[in-house]
C-alpha cells in the first residue's frame, strides 16, 4: 500500500529543529519559517520527481523522473538526503531512515538554503507562494485535460517544455519595454463605442455581441500592429510566442504556466554553486560548533566528506562553493583584497599577504570582516559573478583545477593545462545561462510571410544540429507558420528551417532575405 501522508515529525526532531534554528539565527542567518516533513524513501522519490513539490500538473515526464529515481535508489546509486523548496514558509523533507546525526546535519543545511532563498537577490522576484501556485497550475491543466483530452494537452505541454530554456532570467529585474497596456489606451479607436443607456435597456442599445466582437477585432489589429515585430532581438522567446502565436486560450494558459515555472526555477540554476556552498558552510559551522556529540563524529565526518567528495574530472558544486566561501572569508580576514592585492603579481608576496590580523579561534565566527563579506556575497551574487569576482590563481592551484577538452584524435577528454585564465573563462562559459545557448527572436514576420526567425548568439560553441532541428518542430507547432533558426556551424552561418512538413537547411548568403534584426 502506498502512503501519501507525511509521517509526523517526531518530538525529538522538532525540538532539535528549533534548537538548530536558534543557533542559525544567532550566527546571523535569516530565513522564513521552515516546516520539516518526514518522508520515507519512496515518498522522497515521488516528491523529488515533482521538483520538491507535493503537487504538479499531470505529465508523464514526472513519471519518467520517478522511474529513474526509483531505479537509482533501488540499486543504491544515489541517495537523496534532503530536499527544500523556496517558498514562504520553506518546506523541507527529511528521510525517515536517516540517522539522527544526518537529520541534524540536514536541518542545519536546510536553514542555509532557506537563508539563501530569502536573501539572495536573484531569488527576490520568485513567487514565495509557489506551493499554492503549483497546485493551481495542476488544477488548471487537469481542467484542460478533461476538456480537450489527455493526449492533446500532453503533446502541447511537451512542445512548450522543449522551449522552456528560452527565457530571459534577467528580465524580471528590469523593464525592457513599456508595459503593453500603456500604448493601447492612447489609440482608443479600437474600443467599440458604448452608448449611454439605462441598465435595463443596455442589452438592446449596446448589444453584447457588438461589444465583444469589436473588442476582439480591436485587440487583434493592435497585436499585429505592435509586436509581431520585436523592438529589439528578444531573448524571452516564450513571451514572444505567448503574445504573438495564434494560440487557443487553453494553450496560452499552458504556455504561461510552463513559462512561469521556468522563471521560478531559473535562479536555482543560476546559483547552484553558491547555494550549495552556502548550505554546506552553514551545516558544517553549526554542526562543529554546537550540535555534534562526540559519538556522532565519525558518522558526521563520513557523510560530510561524502557530500564534498570530488572525483577526478568532476567539479562538485558543494565542494567548490564551500571552499570558495571559506577562501573569501579567509582573504577578507587577512586583508587579501583590494586594488593593491589584485595588482600584486609576486606569488610569494600574495601568499604571505596580511594587512589585517584575523580574529583568534578555530572557527572564526560572527562579527569578523570575513564573515560580513560572505554574507554580502550571498546577498548580491550569482554563480557567474561569484566565480568572476572571487576565483583567484591561488584558489585554482589549491583546488587542483584543470582545463580539459575533447581530443578528436583519440576521442577522449584530455587534460590541457592548469592555466588560470583558461579555467576561469571555461567555468564562466559553462555557468552563463547555465550552459544553455542564447537564442533570440529576430523577426516575427520574416519575408513578410508571418514566419518566425530565431537566431543563436554564437559565443565560441556550436549548437547541436540534431537537437536544434527537432526543437524547431516544437516551435513550429506553437507558431503555426514556418520557423527558422540561424546558427553558426563550423564557422559557417546556416539557416535551419521547418515549414510543418519538412526540415531544410541552407547557407546564409546574400540571396536570403534579411530578418528584421541582425545579431549584434
Amino acid at each position: 500500500m502506498m502512503r501519501t501522508k507525511a509521517i509526523p515529525l517526531p518530538q525529538e526532531l522538532a525540538r532539535l529543529a528549533e534548537e538548530i534554528a536558534e543557533h542559525a539565527r544567532r550566527e546571523g542567518l535569516d530565513f522564513y519559517e521552515t516546516v520539516f516533513e518526514m518522508l520515507d524513501a519512496d515518498q522522497i522519490s515521488r516528491v523529488a520527481a515533482y521538483g520538491g513539490f507535493p503537487q504538479r500538473y499531470p505529465h508523464w515526464r514526472f513519471g519518467m523522473e520517478y522511474d529513474s529515481l526509483q531505479n537509482s535508489h533501488r540499486y543504491g546509486l544515489s541517495r537523496i538526503y534532503e530536499m527544500v523548496i523556496n517558498n514562504d514558509p520553506c518546506y523541507a523533507y527529511l528521510r525517515n531512515d536517516n540517522t539522527l546525526v544526518d537529520q541534524k546535519t540536514v536541518m542545519a543545511h536546510v536553514y542555509g538554503h532557506c537563508d539563501f532563498f530569502k536573501n539572495n537577490t536573484w531569488f527576490s522576484q520568485t513567487n514565495r507562494r509557489m506551493m499554492d501556485e503549483m497546485a493551481n497550475h495542476a488544477t488548471r491543466i487537469r481542467r484542460y485535460i478533461d476538456r480537450h483530452g489527455l493526449e492533446k494537452v500532453e503533446r502541447f505541454i511537451e512542445r512548450c517544455l522543449a522551449l522552456d530554456n528560452m527565457i530571459d532570467p534577467h528580465s524580471v529585474f528590469m523593464k525592457r519595454r513599456a508595459p503593453r497596456g500603456s500604448k493601447s489606451s492612447e489609440s482608443n479607436g479600437a474600443e467599440p463605442t458604448r452608448y449611454p443607456a439605462k441598465s435595463y435597456m443596455d442589452r438592446y442599445i449596446n448589444p453584447p455581441e457588438d461589444m465583444e466582437s469589436g473588442d476582439e477585432n480591436g485587440q487583434r489589429e493592435q497585436r499585429v500592429e505592435t509586436s509581431r515585430l520585436p523592438v529589439a532581438p528578444q531573448r524571452d522567446v516564450l513571451l514572444f510566442l505567448l503574445e504573438n502565436a495564434p494560440l487557443a486560450d487553453w494553450q496560452s494558459d499552458v504556455l504561461s504556466i510552463i513559462r512561469e515555472e521556468a522563471y521560478y526555477f531559473a535562479p536555482q540554476g543560476q546559483t547552484k554553486i553558491m547555494n550549495e556552498g552556502w548550505a554546506v558552510y552553514w551545516h558544517s559551522t553549526i554542526m562543529t560548533n554546537y550540535c555534534l556529540q562526540a559519538h556522532e563524529m565519525i558518522t558526521y565526518c563520513d557523510h560530510h566528506s561524502g557530500t564534498l567528495a570530488t572525483s577526478p574530472g568532476r567539479l562538485n558544486p558543494y565542494k567548490l562553493g564551500v571552499e570558495l566561501f571559506r577562501d573569501i572569508e579567509n582573504r577578507w580576514n587577512n586583508g587579501r583584497h583590494g586594488i593593491e592585492y589584485d595588482r600584486c603579481t609576486d606569488i610569494e608576496a600574495r601568499r604571505t599577504w596580511q594587512t589585517r590580523t584575523p580574529p583568534e579561534g578555530r572557527v572564526i565566527g560572527q562579527g569578523s570582516i570575513g564573515r560580513e563579506k560572505i554574507f554580502e556575497v550571498r546577498r548580491v551574487h550569482n554563480d557567474v559573478t561569484f566565480i568572476d569576482e572571487f576565483l583567484t590563481p591561488e584558489f585554482v592551484e589549491e583546488q587542483k583545477l584543470y582545463h580539459y577538452r575533447y581530443d578528436p584524435s583519440t576521442g577522449r577528454m584530455v587534460v590541457v593545462n592548469r592555466d588560470f585564465d583558461r579555467i576561469k573563462a571555461q567555468m564562466l562559459f559553462q555557468l552563463s545561462n547555465h550552459g544553455q545557448p542564447y537564442v533570440y527572436v529576430m523577426d516575427g514576420n520574416y519575408r513578410n510571410r508571418g514566419e518566425l526567425y530565431l537566431a543563436h548568439k554564437h559565443n565560441g560553441f556550436d549548437m547541436d544540429i540534431k537537437y536544434g532541428v527537432e526543437t524547431l518542430k516544437s516551435v513550429e507547432a506553437i507558431w503555426g507558420r514556418p520557423v527558422h533558426i540561424a546558427m553558426r556551424i563550423d564557422d559557417e552561418a546556416m539557416l535551419f528551417s521547418y515549414d510543418g512538413e519538412q526540415s531544410t537547411q541552407q547557407r546564409i548568403d546574400e540571396s536570403l532575405d534579411l530578418p528584421l534584426h541582425q545579431m549584434p
Binding site: 513519471g63 519518467m64 577526478p312 568532476r314 567539479l315 580539459y404 575533447y406 577522449r412 577528454m413 587534460v415
Partner: protein, 366 residues
C-alpha cells in the same frame, strides 16, 4: 486515491511500451536476452522519449575538472559538472527497465496473438484452502478440540482445579484455539511445449542464433500466458536426445542430420509423460531443412501424419536459410503433409523474419 505521480508513472510506462512496440522487430533480435527469466528486469534503450531542446553540441566539449592529472592525461569525465551539455550526454536515448513478461505481453498485443484456448478440465488454476496453523480466535466450527482440551486440562492442573476422581474439564475462553488456514493457488500444468532443434554441422552459428531467438520468444510468450507451462527441449543431429533449457540455448554440436530421430524422441516423450487428451501439446521444430536422406524425410512425414499431428495442438516447423545443404525438408512437408492444418511452416532467412515467423505460427490461434 492514486497520487499524481503514480498516474504520471503509469502514463510513462504506457508511452515506453508504445515506443517498444514501434521498435519491436529490433528488440526481438537482441541475442543477449536469451536465457532470461520472466520477472527479471531488462534494460532497453528507447529512442525519442525525451524532449529535445536547443543545446550545445557534443563535439566541442571541454570543461574544468579537478585532480592530480597532468597535461595530456585522460580526464575521466563521465557525469556532471563538465562541459556544455555534458551532463545531458546520451540522455536522448533513455534506458528503461522492463521485464521479459512485459515484453512478451507487448509481443502478444502487437502480433494480436489469440490466447491459446486451454484444454481439458485440469487447466484451471484453483484456489484451495489449506489448514496450516492455529490461532486464538475463530468460528466454533473450526475449534481444534484436542488442543483446546489439552490446554484446559493443563490450566486446571496448574491451578489445582483438576480432580482425578471427578475428571471434568470445562473450557474457558483462553483455552480455545482454532484452526487457521491459508489460501493457496494450485496451478495445474496443462500445456507442454516441445522444442526440437537441429544442431547438425550444417547449422552454422548464425542459423543457431536465429533458431534460438525464435524459440526464446515463443517460449517467453507461451510461458507468460500459461502459468506452469512445461517446456521440453530436444536437440538432434543423427541422434536425438532431451536436454535442459540451459543446454538447449547454449549447445554446440556437429554431425549429420536425421530429423526422424527428433520426431521419434518427441513421440516417446509424449507417450511417456503427456496424455494427449489432458495436455495441450505444442511441437516446434527448427532446422535448416537439410535432411540426410529422402527416405528419412518420408519417414518423418509418416511419423507426423500417424503419430505427432493427431496428438498435438500444433506442429510448427521453422526452417532457417543455410549456406549449405538443400533446405528441401520444408518442400517435402508441403508436398506430403500439406492438407494437415495443424502443421504450420515458416522460413526465417534473417533476424527480421523472426517477427513474421512467430506471427505465422500463432495466427491460427490453436
Amino acid at each position: 486515491m492514486i497520487s499524481g505521480i503514480t498516474k504520471d508513472h503509469q502514463r510513462f510506462r504506457q508511452i515506453v511500451k508504445g515506443k517498444i512496440r514501434e521498435d519491436l522487430r529490433k528488440f526481438l533480435t537482441r541475442g543477449e536476452l536469451i536465457g532470461r527469466e520472466g520477472n527479471k528486469a531488462i534494460s532497453i534503450p528507447v529512442h525519442g522519449i525525451d524532449t529535445p531542446r536547443f543545446r550545445y553540441g557534443d563535439n566541442n566539449d571541454s570543461g574544468v575538472g579537478t585532480g592530480d592529472a597532468s597535461a595530456g592525461d585522460q580526464a575521466d569525465t563521465q557525469g556532471e559538472g563538465i562541459g556544455p551539455g555534458g551532463d545531458q550526454e546520451g540522455k536522448h536515448i533513455l534506458e528503461v527497465e522492463v521485464s521479459l513478461d512485459e515484453l512478451a505481453d507487448i509481443l502478444g498485443e502487437e502480433l494480436q496473438l489469440p490466447r491459446i484456448e486451454p484444454k481439458g478440465k485440469k487447466q484451471i488454476s484453483s484456489e484451495r484452502d489449506k489448514y496450516t496453523g492455529i490461532r486464538p480466535v475463530g468460528p466454533e466450527s473450526l475449534k481444534h478440540f484436542k488442543r483446546t482440551y489439552r490446554r484446559a486440562l493443563r490450566r486446571q492442573i496448574m491451578t489445582g482445579q483438576y480432580d482425578p476422581d471427578n475428571p471434568r474439564i470445562i473450557f474457558e475462553r483462553g483455552d480455545k484455539v482454532y484452526r487457521s488456514w491459508k489460501t493457496v493457488m494450485s496451478p495445474r500444468s496443462n500445456a507442454v511445449i516441445i522444442y526440437m532443434m537441429d544442431v547438425s554441422g550444417s547449422m552454422g552459428d548464425e542459423q543457431k542464433e536465429l533458431v534460438r531467438l525464435e524459440a526464446f520468444w515463443i517460449d517467453a510468450w507461451l510461458r507468460r500466458n500459461y502459468r506452469g507451462i512445461e517446456s521440453r527441449y530436444i536437440v538432434h543431429d543423427v541422434r536425438a536426445g532431451e536436454v535442459d533449457r540451459e543446454t538447449f540455448y547454449r549447445i554446440r554440436e556437429d554431425g549429420g542430420t536425421r530429423i526422424s530421430s527428433a520426431f521419434r524422441a518427441a513421440k516417446a516423450l509424449i507417450e511417456n509423460h503427456y496424455v494427449p487428451h489432458e495436455w495441450n501439446i505444442y511441437l516446434y521444430h527448427f532446422s535448416d531443412g537439410d535432411n540426410s536422406s529422402e527416405t528419412d524425410s518420408r519417414e518423418c512425414c509418416a511419423l507426423l501424419r500417424e503419430h505427432l499431428l493427431p496428438m498435438c495442438n500444433m506442429f510448427g516447423y521453422c526452417q532457417v536459410a543455410s549456406a549449405y545443404g538443400s533446405g528441401n525438408f520444408i518442400n517435402v512437408l508441403h508436398e506430403h503433409v500439406a492438407d494437415e492444418e495443424r502443421l504450420i511452416t515458416s522460413r526465417v532467412n534473417t533476424k527480421d523474419d523472426i517477427y513474421d515467423s512467430i506471427k505465422a505460427f500463432f495466427k491460427a490461434g490453436r
